[in-house]
Each structure stands twice: as structure tokens, then as C-alpha cells.
Symmetry: C2
Subunit: 301 residues, 2 copies
């Protein structure tokens, strides 16, 4: 999986910082998560091809998470897109987008398919050949979902030399990758494990923004490879976090620790603080594998 942070600050776009948007590349798919104002310019800066984006997931209808969507949809149209686009987000999003397309008499020439969300329980949104996506209900001021992306277990890895040594015909190689035992050219049964290795462990990514401290999601987050958890505030402003449906860096680290995730990325910083290092200082003693999101930073795992 490869994650590109397009924007990771809260509230408003500024001269050198952007509000929430990210791109997740996974098993050949390019997925956009949230789409703040300016996302299309950030996509250009990150050199991500617009046409590769087929799925967009919107967490909630606060502007710093979706005001760039109508512009991106319009730009897709201007660029002559033909591929369908799937947009997943709260009920209401479709009406907002269609109203603006209608006002501009600018219907898309591609299929624009909305999947509107309203459940307060986790639900599976996508069951693709190589991965799944499900919602993570979050606690915020308006209806909000995080998203959990899970790779499926891939095929077993064929050790070609061993298959050759065992005189297995290449016609059986796909069967071997599926885990089957096969007959070799001499009619002997070759046990699958003799010539294959276990596939790589499937990776996962959980995006949780915006949310108050919320232990309800621990079961879903259990042992995910990477967790992005918002940390709008520091602990000194815990009361502000509680009042606005946000979290502190310490709370984000606590969730990461309890869920036993592999790595924690912090983001959605309030701009009131002088240094982002303060977020790291607060989270690190609780959960060591933590890093700070930055606009245009990449993560690979």
C-alpha cells in the first residue's frame, strides 16, 4: 500500500497548508479519501493521474473534507473522462453535487455513481477482487465515517525452480498459486507446499478523521497495519477536543496502543500550535511507532 497525504490540516486551506485529502494506492487501484478545497491542485503536485481515480470516499460534510469534490468532478469532465466514478459519502452529498452541476448546465459525460451512507454501524462498501472497504462509524458533530481498507490474501508464491525440478507442467502453475496439489509429468502427486510459499500477509489501512476519542472502534482497528487518526489538539486543550468532537494527540496514541496497530500517523492539526513536534512529543511515550503527516508526504507499507 502507498499513501500520499495531499492535505492534513484542519479547518481551512492556507498559503502553505491544505485541509484533508489523501490518496491510497492498493493492488493497482487509486483511491481518494476526502477532498478538501484545492485537492485537484495537490493531485497535480503529487503527480497522480486523475483518470486512475475510480473511487472517492468522503468522511463527512464539513467543508475541510469535501469542498474540493465539485471542482474535481468538473475537472474530470473537462479532461474528457469516460470511466465511471464512484463516490461514497453521507446522505446529502449527492444533492449538493447534482445541484451545482445543474446550475452550471454541466452534466458529466461519465457515470457518476453515488453511494450514500447513513448507517451508524460498520458496513462493507466494496468487496473487490483484491481488497475490501468498510466504514468505521466515528463520533463527530455531524454524521461521520472513517474507512478501513483491507487487502485480501493474495495467491501463494510459486517457487519456479522447485516446480521445474519437480517436473510440473506450466499449465498447472495457476492451480499451484491457488493452493492445489497437482500431478507432475510422471503422474506423481506433488504437495502444494513443496513448490510454493505462503503469500504476503495482507496489509490494511484505517482512516479515522474527524472523531472524538472513541473506543467503540477498537475491535475494527485491531492490528491494522497503519492507522491515520486525527489529532486536532494537544492534551492541554482536551476540553476543546471534547467540545468539538475531536481528539488530542495523546488520545490518538491511546487508541493506537489499545488496538495494537502497526503504525500510527497523526494529522488534522489545529494551526494554533507553534510546532507539530509537540504532537509527536505527546503521542510517543504512549505509542512509539508514530509519525506526523505532512502535505505531499508518502508512506509505503
Amino acid at each position: 500500500m502507498k499513501l500520499t497525504i495531499l492535505g492534513c490540516y484542519s479547518a481551512t486551506p492556507r498559503t502553505h497548508t491544505n485541509a484533508t485529502a489523501q490518496v491510497l494506492e492498493m493492488r493497482g487501484q487509486t483511491i481518494l479519501i476526502d477532498c478538501s478545497e484545492g485537492t485537484q491542485v495537490q493531485l497535480r503536485k503529487a503527480k497522480i493521474k486523475f483518470s486512475r481515480i475510480k473511487h472517492i470516499f468522503i468522511s463527512h460534510l464539513h467543508g475541510d473534507h469535501y469542498f474540493g469534490l465539485i471542482g474535481l468532478i468538473s475537472t474530470f469532465q473537462l479532461l474528457g473522462r469516460k470511466n465511471p466514478l464512484h463516490v461514497y459519502g453521507p446522505v446529502g452529498l449527492k444533492e449538493i453535487i447534482l445541484l451545482q452541476l445543474k446550475a452550471g448546465k454541466s452534466w458529466t459525460s461519465y457515470d457518476l455513481i453515488f453511494h450514500e451512507l447513513s448507517s451508524d454501524k460498520p458496513e462493507q462498501l466494496l468487496d473487490a477482487e483484491q481488497f475490501t472497504v468498510e466504514t468505521i462509524p466515528l463520533k463527530h458533530r455531524v454524521y461521520t465515517n472513517g474507512f478501513l481498507f483491507r487487502e485480501k490474501l493474495g495467491p501463494r508464491k510459486l517457487v519456479i525452480q522447485k516446480a521445474v525440478d519437480n517436473q510440473i507442467d506450466t499449465a498447472y502453475f495457476n492451480k499451484l498459486k491457488q493452493g492445489a496439489d497437482v500431478l507432475n509429468r510422471k503422474g506423481h502427486l506433488i504437495k502444494n507446499k513443496t513448490v510454493t510459499q505462503d503469500p504476503e500477509q495482507p496489509k490494511s489501512y484505517a482512516f479515522c478523521s474527524d472523531t472524538a476519542y472513541n473506543t467503540d472502534m477498537l475491535a475494527q482497528l485491531h492490528q491494522v497495519t497503519v492507522l491515520y487518526h486525527e489529532a486536532t489538539f494537544l492534551q492541554e486543550h482536551e476540553h476543546l477536543a471534547a467540545g468539538t468532537g475531536h481528539s488530542t494527540a495523546k488520545q490518538a496514541a491511546s487508541i493506537a496502543k489499545q488496538a495494537k496497530v502497526g503504525e500510527l500517523i497523526l494529522g488534522h492539526y489545529s494551526t494554533r500550535y507553534d510546532s507539530l513536534e509537540l504532537f509527536l512529543d505527546e503521542a510517543m511515550p504512549i505509542f512509539k511507532q508514530v509519525s506526523l503527516a505532512q502535505d505531499l508526504k508518502n508512506y509505503n507499507w
Copy 2:
């Protein structure tokens, strides 16, 4: 008058170019004209104080002219704005903005006053103490207005030394500025013109984007000080201009010439051309006082 170009390209924001937005400063007022995606960041770069903007004029409901408005309105709210904001634009704009505020449960704490436009004739939108604003109906694919900003004639300029020499009491100075004759300390009538000079000629600015070549507006544009006229295409693509409700640089220059304006600014360039100088080359032979808009460029007159 001072004009700051925030963005002057057509269609979409790109890494180094912005779609239409401008700030006009006139007699102590700061006015925003159009508001493409990214306008709030451009305002920051131009160091224009958000709180000074009390009037926003939106030409039409194509995204490259208004997709930044909802973000700006939301940011005003986050910055604690108290002053009322007046938004002038086509019918439909209010519904689009209010729907998004409602979805985010983020009503403004300041008065947000919409003036929705639907007339196809010029109409006066504002009659302030020192200036007026009227619509210029344009020809485009959707309902579109340009805007004409006119300073009112200011007070006469008092020549203080002459007033003192003529023994006029300072209590009469305001009367003199209004053009009245007054009695001096000896009871003699002093003719106004003896101690005052004519006020500066009022300046004007016409914003015309987006529009096809349209001679209907010549009467309104007659002798305006500065005209901003879109030039999306070069003459070689006149057929594209006609088909999309846009103008060529040559057509813009022709309008400027026929209307006998003082100065022409071109903008709204398509990004298909290698050099903007081509627009200048095409317009200059027809109308000499022409310049190219550029993002963050200022004009004073």
C-alpha cells in the same frame, strides 16, 4: 481604484494558475468579483484582509467563477466574522450555499445576505455614498452578468491657502467642498470657484467575463476607465469561441475600441496556448492600451 487579479485563467485551477477571482478596492471599499476554487489562498497571498470584504459579486454559476465561495464563507465564520456579507449572483446561488451550510450544521454567525439576479437588462445593484454598481448582461452558455463599478463625483477640492487669504471661517469649509458660495468674515460673498478646484474625474471599472462577442454592451461600456474583457481564445479558434460563448483577444480589443475605453485588460485564457504574448499580439493592433492579466498582478488608476 486598485484592482488585484487573484486568478485569470479559464476552466480549472492548476499548479501555478488560478481560475477567475479579483479584488477591487474603491473609495475605502474592498469588493470581491468572482470566487473560484482557491480564492481564499490567493487572498492570503495578496495580503488582503478577509474582514474588509463586504460585497461579493458572482458573474455566473460555472465552477471556475464560484466554487471557492462556500469555502470563503465558511472561513469567514471560522475567523469569527461579525460584519454582514452581501453576495450578488444568479438565482440558484443562495440554494447552493445554504444547502452546504445546512449539511455541515455550520450556520454563519454573521448576516449572509443574498441578492439573486435574474434580469436580462442592466440593473443597479448598489447605490453607495461614493460609488454605484450595476450589472452588464453578458452572452454566455448560462445566465451571466458582468459588473460596472462607477465612482461618484467627489467633493470639490478646497485650496486652503486661498480660503485663508479670503478670510473665510473654517466652519464654511465643508460648504465650499459641496460647491456653495459663502460669506467671509467681512460679510463679502466669495464665489466658490475662487477658492476651490474641480474634483477628480470619477473613475470606473467594467468586468466582463464570461461572454461571447457582444456589442449590446457598448453603450454601458462607453468611455469606462478600465475594461476587463475575457479572451479565452485566439482568432484562429473563433469557431470555438462562438460555440462556447467566449471571445477571442481580437474581439475583446474590438469591443474596447468601439466603447472608447481608457484601458483594456485581457484574461480568462485557455491553457491550450504556448504563450500569453499571442493574446497581446492579436489585440494590440486594434486597441493599443491593452495589457495581460496575471495572477497576483495589481492595477492602479
